[in-house]
């Protein structure tokens, strides 16, 4: 249903209240969640294609035995950066970007709870991304593997600056993820539209709540694991040095305590996206909503109890490993519940095979394989054979590429029309999907077999006569196909800017609140904040309600034009979502980018061990944050 008709003079005034500053100043000072969300997505995809290119070079090297495309050191940098960029600079931020864009719209708010913090988290991501990319420019990219095990990565065995880019960079980017998580949780708890009670929160929003909590509990572990690594490297401490009384295994425990929840941190928002798209294109209310929310929380919780399954070969006591093996089996159950909810939704519905729906179906095909191989490697004895082999490479690409990237591509086709106002080409979209699907399976399917044939991971070459050559060639060819498929979507996006059909408010006849406003939405999202009465507000009971009429008191009026004119967004109570008061949405500010700049300077100081630079960075951060917090009582009465 379309948004409310308002006299255009008011429209113009509202627009001025919410507009960003013009030009470059506006670029650096915006706090608008939509602009920030789109930026996250664009920046992440740049990293996606960089990391993808690295992978294509790797596959060129491995296509034949004793390949000569790159040497050992170069290859080691390639696979380290491919993994590091894909996890830290693509998968995590792109999902943050979609969340940033969609969550306030979906819950009927005018922005996130902490818009300036939101901008800060983006600029930190940019800073950390540039910081790590600097290593390429200097030809000293990290080369210790994306998980950088000690003692290989300590100063003795990795004397160069390469690993410092990694150790510092990982802690650096973690700041972005952490404050982003805080923002998502508080936004979804406190900024929902009136009437959006706990049982009417869209599943995508729930997935960001689950993700947010997981981030808060998991990211500190990797912050500590890399901080201690850098302390050993830069200051000569002995945390991980066996000769100094330290423990090499400590690193693995800390790393994987974060590492395992991280993959679910990626998977869960992707699940939210898939559920949303399947619901829309099955044209019926979602099956098993409560079950699905429970399953998401179950996965989030159990994911903290399985990390040792990455360490099955390290010689830990069998009883302890048995516990982790069992927990790793159990986590398959909530995943199965989610899967069955998707089948149930389609079963009772009438599926429309649009491009986003195809990507969702592709996800179902691929994720089932990834989940099944996950159960297999949860079995301790089997894992002792396949861990650190191409079987594992296959497994995690099925779940991190197939089960996260396919939903992301589907989300592009689904939500880009809302963001840009133009549809993407269905024809090109379908070509892209099928190419990606076939290319993906031809690339990663045979890797399962290679692992069982004895091919370990992270080797820059292999001998002829081991029976691995044919499959490696097939895989390398498949990777080209997959890459071509992804590029088709890029072409599609470029094409649609000028030639895409106009989307209108709700091209998909979908059910969630973002489709009740224009495409793209106005800066304030909603002039009239909707009042929500069901889980599928645009389907039941029908048109979106108006906000409270203007003659009720201030708190109520802020949900209508008055609130839009005063640049506020309503705050509602936690569980039953009753309006309580309103907060001023901060105006555009240079403080987030300045504070992020300070943090960047600080990390550069650590990298080059320059105390002066460190101090400058620290002072900029301190100054920025103090200024930021200075006017709290004035701005947020």
């Amino acid at each position: 249903m379309t948004s409310v008709e308002i006299p255009s003079a008011v429209d113009e005034r509202i627009e001025r209240v919410w507009a960003d500053r013009p030009g470059l100043l506006g670029f650096f000072t915006t706090v608008d969640h939509k602009r920030i969300g789109i930026r996250y997505i664009v920046t992440s995809f740049i990293f996606f294609f960089i990391a993808g290119l690295l992978a294509l070079v790797m596959r060129a090297q491995l296509a034949v035995p004793n390949g000569t495309v790159v040497g050992a050191d170069a290859y080691n940098q390639l696979f380290t950066m491919h993994g590091t960029i894909m996890i830290f600079l693509f998968n995590t931020p792109v999902l943050a970007g979609f969340g940033n864009y969609l969550v306030p719209l979906m819950i009927g708010a005018r922005d996130m709870a902490f818009p300036r913090l939101n901008a800060f988290s983006y600029w930190i991501f940019v800073g950390a991304g540039l910081f790590m990319s600097l290593s390429f420019v200097l030809g000293k990219a990290p080369n210790g593997g994306w998980f950088a095990y000690v003692p290989l990565t300590d100063k003795t065995f990795s004397p160069g600056i390469n690993l410092d880019f990694w150790g510092l960079g990982v802690a650096f980017v973690g700041i972005s993820t952490t404050v982003g998580a805080v923002n998502f949780i508080v936004t979804i708890f406190k900024l929902r539209a009136p009437g959006m009670t706990v049982n009417r929160i869209p599943i995508l929003a729930w997935s960001y709540v689950a993700m947010g909590f997981m981030v808060l509990f998991a990211v500190p572990a990797i912050t500590v694991s890399s901080a201690l690594l850098e302390a050993d490297r830069l200051f000569g401490t002995k945390f991980y040095v066996p000769d100094g009384g330290g423990s090499a295994l400590l690193y693995q425990h800390l790393f994987w305590f974060w590492g395992h929840p991280e993959v679910y941190i990626l998977f869960i928002p992707a699940v939210g996206m898939v559920t949303t798209m399947i619901t829309t294109f099955s044209r019926r209310p979602q099956a098993g909503y409560v079950w699905s929310v429970g399953a998401l929380m179950g996965i989030a919780f159990i994911s903290f109890g399985v990390w040792v399954h990455h360490m099955f070969a390290t010689g830990l006591p069998t009883t302890a490993m048995g516990f982790f093996s069992a927990a790793s089996f159990v986590i398959a159950i909530p995943s199965a519940v989610l899967y069955m909810a998707w089948i149930g939704t389609m079963w009772g519905g009438k599926v429309r095979f649009t491009t986003p729906m195809l990507f969702a179906l592709g996800f179902l095909i691929i994720f089932l394989i990834g989940g099944i191989t996950g159960v297999m490697v949860a079995s301790l004895p089997f894992d002792l054979q396949v861990t650190d082999t191409y079987f594992i490479v296959a497994h995690f690409h099925y779940v991190l590429n197939g089960a996260v990237v396919f939903p992301i591509f589907g989300a592009l086709y689904y939500w880009l029309p809302k963001m840009s106002g133009r549809m993407l080409s269905e024809r090109l979209g379908k070509w892209s999907f099928w190419t990606m699907l076939v290319g993906f399976n031809v690339t990663f399917g045979p890797m399962h077999v290679l692992g069982e044939l004895g091919m370990p991971r992270r080797i820059y070459t292999y001998d002829a006569g081991l029976g691995w050559a044919a499959l490696n060639m097939v895989i390398s060819l498949g990777s080209l196909l997959f890459a071509a498929g992804t590029l088709m979507t890029v072409a599609n996006i470029v094409w649609s800017r000028k030639h895409g059909a106009l989307a209108g408010d709700d091209p998909w006849q979908a059910d969630t609140l973002e489709w009740s406003t224009t495409s793209p939405p106005p800066d304030q999202n909603f002039t009239a904040v909707p009042v929500v009465e069901s889980l599928h507000p645009l389907w039941f009971p029908g048109p979106v309600r108006l906000a409270i009429p203007a003659d009720v008191d201030t708190a109520a009026r802020t949900q209508g034009e008055v609130g839009a004119l005063e640049r506020t967004t309503p705050i509602t109570s936690g569980l039953d979502s009753l309006p309580e008061f309103e907060v001023l949405v901060p105006t555009p500010s240079p403080l987030p980018v300045l504070a992020a700049l300070g943090v960047t300077i600080f990390f550069i100081g650590m990298l080059i061990s320059a105390a002066f630079v460190l101090a400058v960075g620290g002072l900029v951060v301190l100054g920025g944050i103090t200024t930021w917090a200075w006017r709290t009582e004035m701005d947020h009465p």
């Binding site: 912050t223 945390f239 423990s247 108006l546 009720v552 008191d553």
Partner: protein, 205 residues
């Protein structure tokens, strides 16, 4: 009754009941979550401490003596005591008594500063360096990180005291005070865990 009317009624009610009926501000929740994640940093470090200890024959390693309890216990009491004025200060400002708040903040600051100065002194007279062995690294980094958090708290306290000095708080608007005091209590609670793990537990035989 239409949904509109029901919601309108509830809004009107909350407006009538006034600010005390309002739940916590978003900033408060934000600080709670940030504190949660910071607490996990210390949890990870303390877990590392006990992990390395479990894998060691002697503890402390390398012949280092177990940390003496005398002075640190006294200053621990001072640090924990520094939280008490803040409780009083919060109640005061909720009644609009900004002068009492200023006094509370000042007392808390002095106590916290005393603890910090003692920590600086402890560091100088440790007798070992972080490079010596894993025990030394853990001890120095954990207490050092707590110290950094304390310094951040003192800086925050300074900012809050300046704002209080300028008269920027009243009964309804004092969010910075609440956020600061929550952070300060967090720093104290962390110290309880650090003290118990690094100091007390090494004397339990």
């Amino acid at each position: 009754m239409t949904a509109d009317a029901v919601v309108a009624g509830q809004i009107a009610e909350s407006a009538v009941l006034g600010p005390q009926a309002r739940s916590r501000r978003v900033g408060w929740w934000g600080m709670v979550l940030l504190i949660t994640t910071e607490a996990m940093i210390f949890a990870a470090l303390l877990s590392s401490y006990f992990f390395v200890r479990a894998n060691s024959n002697a503890w402390p390693q390398g012949g280092i003596a177990a940390p003496p309890l005398g002075r640190i216990s006294v200053f621990t009491v001072l640090l924990l005591a520094s939280s008490v004025p803040l409780f009083w200060g919060e109640i005061a400002i909720r009644r609009g008594e900004i002068r009492q708040l200023r006094l509370a903040l000042a007392i808390s600051f002095v106590l916290g500063l005393a603890f910090l100065l003692n920590q600086v002194n402890e560091f100088r007279t440790l007798g070992f360096s972080a490079k010596d062995n894993a025990y030394a690294s853990l001890f120095i980094v954990i207490t050092g990180l707590h110290g950094l958090h304390l310094i951040a708290g003192l800086l925050m306290s300074a900012v809050v005291q300046i704002k209080a000095g300028l008269g920027w708080f009243d009964a309804d608007r004092h969010q910075t005070v609440l956020l600061f005091s929550m952070y300060w209590h967090f720093v104290d609670v962390v110290w309880i865990f650090v003290f118990s793990s690094l100091y007390l537990s090494t004397h339990l035989r």
